[in-house]
Amino acid sequence: MKFTGSLCVAAMLFALPAVFVAAADTPARFRTWKVPATFPLPPVPADNPLTGSKVELGRYLFYDTRLSGNGTQACATCHQQQHAFTDARAVGIGSTGEPHTRGPMSLVNVAYTSFLTWADPTMTRLEDQALVPMYGDHPVELGLDNADSWLSRLAAEPRYARLFTEAYGTPDLTRERVVKALASFERSIVSARSPFDRYHFDRDDQAVSAAAKRGEVLFHSRALSCFQCHGGVNFSSAMTGEPRPRMEPEFPNTGLYNLTGALSYPPEDAGVYRITHNPRDVGRFKPPTLRNVAVTAPYMHDGSVATLDEVLDHYAAGGRTIAYGPHAGVGHDNPNKSEAVHGFTLTTDQRADVVEFLRSLTDEALLTDPDFANPWTAPATTGAESSGKAR
């Protein structure tokens, strides 16, 4: 079901142990995921089954700066755990100093995301997406060379022989194995332990404040209609999960810009238009998950909105007005703007309630969970410990 229906999963019992241990006959991927029973099970590609050893290898790779051409950056440089795997910058900065046009997206619950990146309807597999920051040159991110000479740098690290053997049966380092392990680690990052989750799934009425409960009503009200793009257990319409078929996200244009001239959005990033070259797709971007949104500022695809209050300003106005400068324009009048962005008025108290509700989506346990933390700063685990670990 659409929208709020998805959030109504709520009434079911929910218990998420610190370490998820499933029944013996549970499929292997249950044993390696902190997926509560009330969440759908994310899909996994048949050619990259999720295993604990592959997730663990992926964690080492994710935090390894040898995965950049000049050895200065790792995936974790732009996807930092304390910021729900974003980087607190407006836009990402690559290993050579080149700025991206977009901010790094949160990797939280990325296993549920039906379409990856901010605005690419064709990008559906993490294994494919990983190649973009690794090898892309518009802009350069990790800046790896296509000849894969960087694999020899990894091979010099003694721990990888064991980790690759545990994950794949042999110690061979290949691009495909690296990518599959990175994707597996990313899929393991499930956020489901926020106050909102305790309130909804544990039915702990004290888990969230009265203000957050009022804010939730406003969030789902017809007037605000936030749920239309940010519904479901992942607060994003771009969500998939088993056994429900893949959803088509709407890639809404929210009226963030309305430039005069050929494109209504800054030409360096016009959203889905970049892929389709269809004028109707100018300014269309994926609604990201709102889980942990209080720790992922700044907001929007280009980080041009600093705070949650300013986000509400933007939507309350039915689109952002920029009075001066090269981006001047009335976003409210953007010709591609989604009908869901219609504007609304809130009292000061109501605005505070909505923000309080958004803050209730912060999963503090995830932000410090050692299973998602940098393994290179911790003592190395033994093979026996690692291979048998239930994540």
Binding site: M12, T38, M239, V282, T345
Partner: protein
Amino acid sequence: MGTVLLVGGALSVHAQPRSTPTGPRTGTLVVAGEVDKALTLTPDQLKMLPRTAVTIEEDGRPVKYEGVLMGELLKMAGAPVGPNLRGNAVSSYVVATGNDGYSAVFSIAELDPVFTRSQIIVADTADGKPLFDYQGPFRIIAPQDTRAARSVRMLEKIELVRVKK
């Protein structure tokens, strides 16, 4: 690309801001309109009526909703259901409205157990628990719908409209 695109402003639709997010909650359900006997039901009164349970899938998981068939509520209000639902009465419809002003329409026939097995209910529990504030205390569940757009949350009013008298 450098392609010149003509993305003019002429297509702009100036939607009006919505100024009343939610009003005071009545906490009751009114069954009114062109019925013989309008009703106002409290949550406790609804619980005393014949119960129906339906299970739907939400986010890939089954959720069991319980409540009262809308057809049962219409019958209590004296609407033409059962043997009386024929002729001009078949053109009647129901408007269901929530506290936030959202509304959806159901034809009277799709609410009548004599006509359909769709089991559209006014739910007051999900998996045995009261609905959350943003949903309840009453919410329509239409289990045969493939989208939840008619699952009016914070339901406060059911109105019968007779197109032909």
